[in-house]
Symmetry: C2
Subunit: 335 residues, 2 copies
């Protein structure tokens, strides 16, 4: 026999479908005795409401969407997504919702959102990796799709946002280096069109003053190349603040290759505080972020928004510097 339907439960309990529906949704107006009979019958039959049928009648998908617009290889290296997704899921599964993923090539992000919205597969979406003037915001507004973004303070996004502030982390890194005597503190950033990359860069620029900047792409290869550029320049920096750990680790390898000792001749900081940061040599000073928490918060906000509540922006604790062995005073010529 196939799965029991609400009709079977109704028949077993000797009532109508409507009454069963009322009981199962905890609505008032059903006699205690009847309620009990229905619940017993439902348990007896092992009834689980059909998600599809419910979705159709209340026109909700009971799912939210996430569009990942990165090349597969890069995705694998980025510790952000899995942690963020885990956080999202944490909230969603508590609330009986599902997460629908959509991985698309970087240039087809809009199509991804359209697809999710067009077929009403999801009730809302997350918007990650905000761009500087992000077209997705307008698109989603046009589609009437609820959304929550991971945004930065002072950059209105038009939707409720989890406000992540990268600046304190970057500033802490720069100040930590400055405190160690560094004066030429370079920065290897991410693609400038990403809001987070540009904000990290700006924070660095304000704290570090005049110093070399290289734009890379968050990949190890990009970090390595950027480091080569910096180290082979006329007046190489004594410290480099990287926009993520991956580039920083690749950068340390390049330094080694160039015979530049870390941290004796070059101090290095990362960003993300990936697990590996603590297990490379020297261990990487990095900025700790908490994508798992962001995921949880973002999902809560999105679900509330979908249910029609008014959702304010949600600030999360600022990033925090974790000092390890890759940073040291300048001039220390040990080794």
């Amino acid at each position: 026999m196939s799965r029991p339907t609400i009709r079977d439960v109704a028949a077993a309990a000797g009532v109508s479908k409507g009454t069963v529906s009322f009981v199962l949704n905890g609505r008032p107006g059903v006699a205690e005795e009847t309620k009990r009979r229905i619940l017993d019958a439902a348990r007896e039959l092992g009834f689980t409401p059909s998600h599809q049928a419910r979705a159709l009648s209340v026109s909700r998908a009971f799912a939210v969407g996430l569009v990942l617009a990165r090349e597969p290889e890069l995705l694998g290296a980025d510790p952000f997504f899995p942690a963020f997704i885990a956080g999202v899921e944490r909230t969603l599964s508590d609330r009986g919702q599902a997460l629908v993923l959509q991985v698309v090539p970087e240039d087809q992000e809009e199509a991804g959102y359209r697809r999710l919205a067009g077929s009403k597969r999801v009730d809302g979406v997350f918007v990650l990796d905000l761009h500087v003037a992000d077209r997705r915001i307008a698109l989603l507004e046009e589609l009437g799709m609820p959304a929550v973004t991971i945004a930065r303070p002072d950059v209105p996004s038009g939707f409720p946002a989890v406000l992540v502030d990268d600046r304190p982390g970057i500033i802490a890194a720069v100040e930590h280096l400055a405190g160690l005597g560094h004066r030429r503190i370079a920065h290897v950033g991410g693609p400038a069109h990403f809001l987070h990359a540009s904000i990290r860069r700006r924070a660095w620029a304000e704290a570090a003053g005049e110093a070399p900047y290289v734009e890379a792409d968050f990949s190890a290869a990009g970090g390595a190349q950027a480091t080569r550029d910096l180290l082979s320049s006329e007046n190489p920096p004594t410290a480099i603040v990287y926009a993520n750990d991956l580039m920083a680790i690749a950068g340390m390898a390049v330094a080694q290759e160039y015979g530049v000792a870390v941290p004796a001749h070059l101090s290095v900081t990362g960003f993300d505080n990936t697990e590996l940061a603590g297990y490379v040599s020297p261990a990487l000073t990095s900025v700790r972020t908490d994508p798992y928490l962001w995921g949880r918060k973002a999902a809560e906000a999105l679900l509330d928004l979908i249910e029609g509540e008014h959702v304010p922006d949600i600030p999360v604790p600022p990033a925090h510097l974790v000092v390890r062995g890759s940073t040291a005073p300048t001039g220390e010529k040990t080794r």
Copy 2:
């Protein structure tokens, strides 16, 4: 105005809902002229069929599920999932299906599958990280849920499987090391209850003969600890074959800390060939796998299976050794 329904299209084209449905699904028996009129009307109105309604009437979810049972932190470090998921998505989006993710604590994996199956949210699932005697197989059979596994040759899983053979990669690594003169080639493996970990271990054991083995957990911390154990043992190995890159990289850092030069005094190999492998110092010799491809193949198999086709197991090209700087002849006492 809200989204147009099939009824609106029918009215606009002056036909019945049924006819519209026929045309939109490309079924024969509709006059060319009518077909054209209907398609025009649909385009005109910007009609997109409601996924929910279709799902209800044909009782399909048009989605497949993936249960990730790992702790969030570990998830972030594992390059496998994102790449696998990207591959899956590649196939799915071509075929109009969606991917529903479910992230659960490691001990609640079964509940995750039950949840996906119970509400008919998905038409099929992937089973990853097979265990040695995996209870999920029986569970899914009981639930009547189509599934595709990522399995290993000679280990029947009861469902169609993408057959990934890790052995050639491990054997190549060991033979490469043996060819360089190594005789004590240790292995740092993953948790023994994972099929892939136990198979890698067995392949290593057969190729390397008597040599130290340490079980770790695929994490950097675990890899570091295992390496400490090996290096501080009475008769330390001259080479270590790690079951993944993360542990290998952490291991290299430990070696450095112990004053054991890689590759001069210790050769090291990883597994996965993550991007970072090429950008640490020395660059890590590793075994290249292709989770993106596995994802694509697995998704194709799963969709075919759901449509009732008979699906054979799918072998994929074996893993391949990528030699880099972390391996060198024994006895080379350079530096």
